[in-house]
């Protein structure tokens, strides 16, 4: 009986402490809007981590750069969905596949991959979208499979 009381006291004290800390916390966020967190479901991964998904065949790679850049060289097997003007239906088609989505562009600063990832999540995609942190250059540099359009 005393044990149960102790457990209850500890749980209540922890909850009170947690909420109190959150109240005075500069980055505290309860209650939070779901939208805000949903936008954070874009998770950066390194090229090496993306390669693990690639090898496992568990991910669909999406090139968020312009079509011309895509034609110039892209991750083997990746689809092209330019973030600037995503073709109608391409995002929906990608979302329908039972695979994880890995989006990339030219590196950390390019922004296209992040933009496309958010667009995908904005369409109601319920899972995490991965973005290759250093993009295509890092992938190519490591000698991972690349495809080029024959000229």
């Amino acid at each position: 009986m005393r044990l149960l009381k102790d457990i209850a006291v500890i749980l209540v004290a922890a909850a009170a402490a947690g909420l109190a800390i959150n109240l005075f916390h500069p980055r505290g966020f309860v209650p939070v809007s779901r939208q805000e967190l949903a936008l954070k479901r874009v998770v950066p991964v390194s090229a090496a981590e993306a390669k693990i998904k690639y090898d496992a065949g568990m991910a669909l790679f999406i090139d968020a750069r312009e079509k011309a850049e895509y034609d110039d060289g892209h991750i083997a097997g990746a689809g092209s969905v330019p973030a600037s003007a995503p073709p109608a239906g391409a995002i929906a088609a990608a979302m329908a596949r039972p695979l994880e989505l890995v989006v990339y562009c030219d590196g950390a600063a390019c922004g296209a991959a992040e933009k496309l990832a958010r667009a995908i999540i904005g369409r109601g995609y319920g899972r995490t979208v991965y973005v290759i942190r250093d993009g295509f250059p890092a992938w190519e540099e490591r000698g991972y499979p690349v495809e080029r359009k024959e000229k």
């Binding site: 102790d6 457990i7 909850a15 800390i21 309860v30 967190l37 949903a38 995490t128």
Partner: protein, 177 residues
Amino acid sequence: MSGESMIRKGVNSTLYGNRLTAVIRIALGLLLAASGALKLPDPVQFAQVIMRYDIIPADLAPYAAVLVPALETLLGLLLLVGYRVRAAALIALAIMLAFGAFIAVNVARGRSFDCGCFGLGSIGIDFGETVSAWLVVRDLLFAAGFALVARAQRHLYSLEYVVERTRLKNLEKVKYE
């Protein structure tokens, strides 16, 4: 004394609560307090870790992200100091089993991502530990440690023990002086 009975004696004394039990209690307490305290500064990051596991509904994740680190820290401190040890160890045991189950579910789903273990990401340490069967085993080992601590009758080097001993000493004095 034969070897077998020595082993049995050692096991019994550990179950009752000897120095080894105390060391396990203090080590696990430190671990819990540290990993809880490291998660406290950045609830948003921990919420993302929780969301990655895709088990707790997204609406509840922020609350869990605020409550769990505080609970971990409190439990860790209680175990470390040795106050209300059994209750703290039982809650910690439940938490470890829950963490283990969360990881196991995601391993079964065939997913692989940074486990967010110990909140180390918040101080820039990144072991890149991804969820795996080994992490489930490790959580179960921690759980076993907490179970041992919860089962023990006596906790050396703990506040509880000191208080109880002082009380008993004073009882004797009252009786015999």
